[in-house]
Structures are given as structure tokens and as C-alpha cells.
């Protein structure tokens, strides 16, 4: 490989790679250490104190976690986060994969379609969430109006006033926002699969389902692993949609861990408690990151990349 000989040569010519590397890393490392690594540690520390806004706290051990353990609102937010992440991720995966398969066919205006369908992901979530808020209005909801005109329901749906209605509504908004990302990423994966594999399988008499199950799916697995890790991660820590559409209401029914953490820490002033809630998300995130890491390794292994 020219890579390794090239590396060796460059290494010989430039003895100062380490010093130069350090210098080049300096701006990025400084910003990340000061504004990312340090706050991460500070957050853990804050979770172990009784800090409030305007009052420096003292170390109280696991006191915050103990009180959270017996806090029904906290457990409700954990439950909501699980439902929200689980349902939305599965739906995003299913619908996103379907859309990717549709876009991968020989259709007209393909790139135009792809460009247009990515819009929900490009536009600021906060702003599209406002549109959903209006669509879910209790008196002037366009969805209710259409369903009434079609004769499917008799009265306007109370989208955001009922616990489960509100949950489904925010989940629907999240799915809407997430489908394009999943679809376009998987489409990129689909386009790397050689058509000759399909031709060979077709000649061997494979059905459409067999083509998908035994050609498309195995070759797509690594990229699915990565895309879904990202999707799960960002759904799990979602804040904007909930904050705009329901603010956690009605009666905490849609609070996610992130929104509850904000609610307690900033308007509530209980910085330490908020930090403890945020830190309670870390184990879940670590699990997702580990899965993503092994997904990456497997993809490298599949492609035969050696470092």
C-alpha cells in the first residue's frame, strides 16, 4: 500500500510530527477541554452538591439522586423518555427505510425529490415545532377539521390537553422531523450496493422479499447501526420539540428527562437537581455510544479496512 510507505517517508522527512501535531491540535483542544470536558465533570460534581441559582452549593453526596429515586415526576419523565425514544426510533427506522427504498428506485425527478424531502431536517426544529403547535390547536386544528369533514370523528380532538394524545402528538412531530435524516443516510448506503448482486440473486430466482432480506439488509446493517445510534441518541436527549409544543404538560405527561432537567434547573433554580437529572441520562447514552462504536468496527471489518 502506498499509504504505509508514504507515511514512513513523511515520518522520516518530518521529525517534528509530534510537536507540530500538538500545535495544530491546540485551538480545537482548548475549546473542547474548556467548554466540553470541564463542564461534563462540573455537571457530575454539581449533581453531588446542593447548588441553587445565586448560591454556591456544598457537597451532599448522593442526596439528589436519593430524592430523585422517590420522585414520581422524575420516574414519569424516565417513562416518557423511554416511550418517546422507543416508539419514535422504531417508526423513524421503518418509515425512513421505506422512503430510502422508494427513492432508490428509478424514478423521475429523483434528486429534486431528495432535496425537497430533506427540508424538515434542515429547518430549525423550534420553528417547525411552532407549526405543529398550530396544527395541534384545540379549536382550529386542521387535522381535526379534515377528519370531521371526512366524517371520521364528531368533535375536535384535544391533541395537547390529554396525556396520551399529547404523547402521541409530540412523537408524531419527532418522527416527522427524523424521517428525512434516516432516509437520506440509508439511501447513501443503498447506493453503494452493487446492482450485479441483485441481478445474480434474481437469476437464481430470489423473490423481492428475499432480495431485501438476503442482499440489501445484510449489506446495510453497519450503516443502519450507526444511523440508528445517532437517531436514538438525539431522540433520547430531545428538548426543543417538547419545550415548544407542550412544555412538558399536561401535568408533566410529556416531560422528558432533558425538559425536566431544564425545568428544575433554570426556571426552578435548583441547579444541582437539574444536573443530577441530566447525569442520569449518561448511562443510556454510554450504551448507545458503545453500540455505535461496535457498529463502526464491524463496518470497517466488512470493508476490509486495516488501520
Amino acid at each position: 500500500m502506498s499509504n504505509s510507505t508514504g507515511l514512513a517517508l513523511i515520518g522520516r522527512i518530518n521529525n517534528n510530527a509530534n510537536a507540530l501535531g500538538l500545535l495544530f491540535m491546540l485551538p480545537a483542544a482548548t475549546i473542547l477541554l474548556v467548554f466540553l470536558t470541564y463542564p461534563l465533570g462540573l455537571g457530575m460534581w454539581l449533581g453531588l452538591t446542593d447548588t441553587k441559582i445565586g448560591r454556591p452549593g456544598e457537597f451532599v453526596g448522593l442526596e439528589n439522586y436519593k430524592s430523585l429515586f422517590s420522585d414520581s415526576v422524575f420516574w414519569l419523565s424516565v417513562f416518557n423518555t423511554m416511550v418517546y425514544t422507543g416508539v419514535a426510533s422504531i417508526a423513524k427506522f421503518g418509515l425512513g427505510l421505506w422512503l430510502a427504498l422508494l427513492l432508490n428506485q428509478n424514478i423521475r425527478f429523483k434528486s429534486f425529490m431528495r432535496a425537497i424531502l430533506l427540508l424538515p431536517w434542515i429547518v430549525p426544529t423550534t420553528l417547525s415545532a411552532i407549526a405543529f403547535w398550530w396544527i395541534y390547536d384545540s379549536q382550529f386544528s386542521i387535522i381535526s377539521w379534515m377528519l370531521i369533514k371526512l366524517g371520521l370523528i364528531d368533535s375536535y380532538i384535544n391533541f395537547l390537553g390529554d396525556a396520551w394524545n399529547a404523547r402521541w402528538s409530540v412523537i408524531a412531530a419527532n418522527i416527522w422531523r427524523g424521517i428525512p435524516f434516516v432516509a437520506i443516510s440509508l439511501l447513501a448506503g443503498l447506493q453503494t450496493i452493487s446492482p450485479s448482486l441483485y441481478e445474480a440473486a434474481t437469476i437464481d430466482g430470489a423473490t423481492r422479499w428475499q432480495l431485501f432480506r438476503h442482499v440489501t439488509y445484510p449489506l446495510l446493517t453497519p450503516i443502519i447501526a450507526i444511523v440508528m445510534t445517532f437517531s436514538v441518541l438525539f431522540t433520547f436527549t430531545d428538548f426543543q420539540l417538547i419545550y415548544v409544543i407542550t412544555r412538558g404538560g399536561p401535568v408533566n405527561a410529556t416531560h422528558l428527562m432533558a425538559t425536566l432537567s431544564f425545568q428544575r434547573a433554570i426556571p426552578g433554580g435548583q441547579l444541582a437537581e437539574g444536573a443530577a437529572i441530566a447525569m442520569a441520562m449518561v448511562p443510556f447514552l454510554l450504551a448507545a455510544i458503545l453500540i455505535s462504536f461496535f457498529g463502526l468496527q464491524r463496518r470497517k471489518w466488512q470493508q476490509g479496512v486495516k488501520d
Binding site: 485551538p27 431528495r114 424538515p120 407549526a131 398550530w134 424521517i179 448507545a288
Partner: protein, 302 residues
């Protein structure tokens, strides 16, 4: 695959995926039902909120609330009152300017730091560069929703609270990992031989980076740049937490916190605020669609 018909014998030529190859064997009717119909439904659902946002912006009071006399899907009496209210009675133009300023500054800081870092990790191969690369990837996975509380206390201590600097300095925490990761992929695709030639000709590392690597990585720079700009433009939780006066708010925060007054929602101007906050990124996007797609898929694939 919901389109599968279990009672039909297997159609050996109904190839779902081949790019054109065996596509001619799929009947037109079948394609209409299995491809164009679902695509149509997807497009309708994914685009409807934008259509709704746009027409609500230009609706007057009677259009907005009376669905029986005026069809809700169309504007019978278009009016610019909502837009006028937004632009002249609120601080919206200021928010737009702030968002632009913060997004552009954060993007430039991040690009500068990321180019150097990506080049060092990918090409200088200093001791431990592999681990640093991995750390950058993990840094990208740290979500703002677990960082905003400790960052808020830091911003307060550094006396940056309620300034644009609070946002300009904290946005790079999610922009740098993303851009570095993306640029590492682009740098990897530039042949080593070019650098070797330049080294033999006596160029320094900095010269190589500026005169050889960067010009070749322009598509990567554009991808990283527009992505960083979009991510900063869309950022919400930091801006909501670190800023409280109207003069320094960004568009997403301003619209949410100031256009919503009490229990009476001015849907017209709210939608106008959402529409005009979306248009800049939509325009940028329309010019650079391919870069967005390659940036997004590149970051996932690498």
C-alpha cells in the same frame, strides 16, 4: 415491504432496487401503486407543515378562524399585516441579525480549529492521534442537553451571561467535533504523493496545508461550513439558557419567548416568525443541496 403480495407467484423480474437495469420489466401500473403513491403520501406529510406555515402567515383574522366560509387550505384575502407586525412591532430584525452574527462567528472559529485538528489527526499522525480522533467522535455524541447546566454556571462566572459571546464560544463545542470528523474523511481521500512531492521540494507543513490540501478539500470545507452554519442557526437550548435580554436573542428563542404572549396566540405573526426564520437556511440549502447530502452521509459513513 408492505407492497408484497403473498398470493402471487414470485416474479423473478420484479427487481426492487436495480438502477434502471431490470426496471423495464416492472409494469407501469404496479409502479404507480408501489412507488409513486407512497412517495406522494410521504411528500404530502413531510411538506404540509411548511405549506400550512406559509399560508397562515398571509391570512387575516377572518381567514384564520373561520373555516366554514373560507377554505382553510387557501388564502381568500391575503394580507401582510402579520409580516408588518413582526418586522416593525417586535425585535425580530434584531434577532435575525444576532442569529446571523453568532452563526457566522461560531462557524468561522470552528472551521479554523477543525481544519488544523483534522489535518493533524489525519496527516501528521502524531503520537496518539488515533485516540484523539476517537475522542473527537465521542465528543460529537455528547448532547447539549446534559451540558447546558454546568455551562450556564461557567458562562455566569466568566461574566458572559446575556452576551453574544456566550453563544459564540459555546456553539463550537458541538461544531468542532462534527466538522473535524467530516474533514478527516475528506483529507483521507487526498493522495499522500502530492504532499510527499511538496515536502521534497522544501515546502513546510503549513504551506502544504494552505496550498495543496485545502484547495483540494474545498468541497469538504463547504460541507462543513454550511453544516456548522445550519446547526448554529437552529440551536435552541444554549441560546434559551444563556441569554435573557431581547437585544441578544436569536430567532428561535425570540419567537418562542416573546411572540407568545399569555393565552392569546397570534398565530399569524408566530407563523411569519417561523417562516422568516426558516427561509435563510432553506435558501442556503437550496444552493448547496449536494454538499448537505454528502456532509450528512459522510459524517455517518466515515
Amino acid at each position: 415491504m408492505t407492497t408484497e403480495d403473498p398470493y402471487k407467484p414470485a416474479q423473478p423480474n420484479a427487481n426492487d432496487h436495480a438502477e434502471g437495469g431490470m426496471d423495464y420489466l416492472v409494469t407501469r401500473k404496479r409502479k404507480l401503486v408501489t412507488v409513486y403513491l407512497p412517495l406522494g403520501v410521504f411528500s404530502f406529510v413531510l411538506l404540509f407543515p411548511f405549506y400550512w406555515m406559509t399560508i397562515t402567515t398571509f391570512k387575516g383574522k377572518e381567514d384564520l378562524y373561520d373555516y366554514d366560509r373560507n377554505s382553510p387550505f387557501w388564502v381568500s384575502n391575503p394580507t401582510l399585516a402579520n409580516v408588518k407586525k413582526l418586522l416593525f412591532d417586535t425585535a425580530y430584525p434584531e434577532w435575525l441579525w444576532n442569529t446571523m452574527l453568532v452563526a457566522v462567528s461560531a462557524t468561522f472559529i470552528s472551521l479554523f480549529a477543525s481544519v488544523l485538528a483534522a489535518y493533524a489527526i489525519e496527516r501528521l499522525r502524531f503520537k496518539g492521534s488515533k485516540w484523539v480522533g476517537l475522542c473527537i467522535y465521542f465528543a460529537y455524541l455528547v448532547p447539549p442537553s446534559i451540558l447546558f447546566i454546568p455551562l450556564a454556571t461557567m458562562v455566569f462566572k466568566l461574566q458572559l451571561f446575556d452576551t453574544r459571546w456566550a453563544l459564540i464560544l459555546t456553539y463550537p463545542t458541538f461544531l468542532i467535533p462534527f466538522c473535524t470528523w467530516l474533514l478527516m474523511g475528506y483529507f483521507r481521500s487526498i493522495p499522500f504523493e502530492l504532499e510527499e512531492c511538496a515536502l521534497i521540494d522544501g515546502a513546510t507543513r503549513l504551506e502544504i496545508l494552505l496550498k495543496i490540501v485545502l484547495p483540494l478539500a474545498v468541497p469538504g470545507l463547504i460541507s462543513a461550513g454550511i453544516f456548522a452554519f445550519t446547526l448554529s442557526w437552529n440551536e435552541f437550548i444554549y441560546a434559551l439558557t444563556f441569554v435573557s435580554s431581547s437585544e441578544v436573542k436569536t430567532v428561535p428563542v425570540g419567537v418562542i419567548t416573546e411572540l407568545v404572549e399569555g393565552d392569546v396566540y397570534h398565530w399569524g405573526s408566530l407563523m411569519a416568525g417561523a417562516l422568516f426564520g426558516s427561509i435563510p437556511v432553506a435558501i442556503l440549502y437550496s444552493f448547496f443541496v449536494e454538499y448537505y447530502v454528502s456532509g450528512m452521509t459522510g459524517a455517518v459513513k466515515e
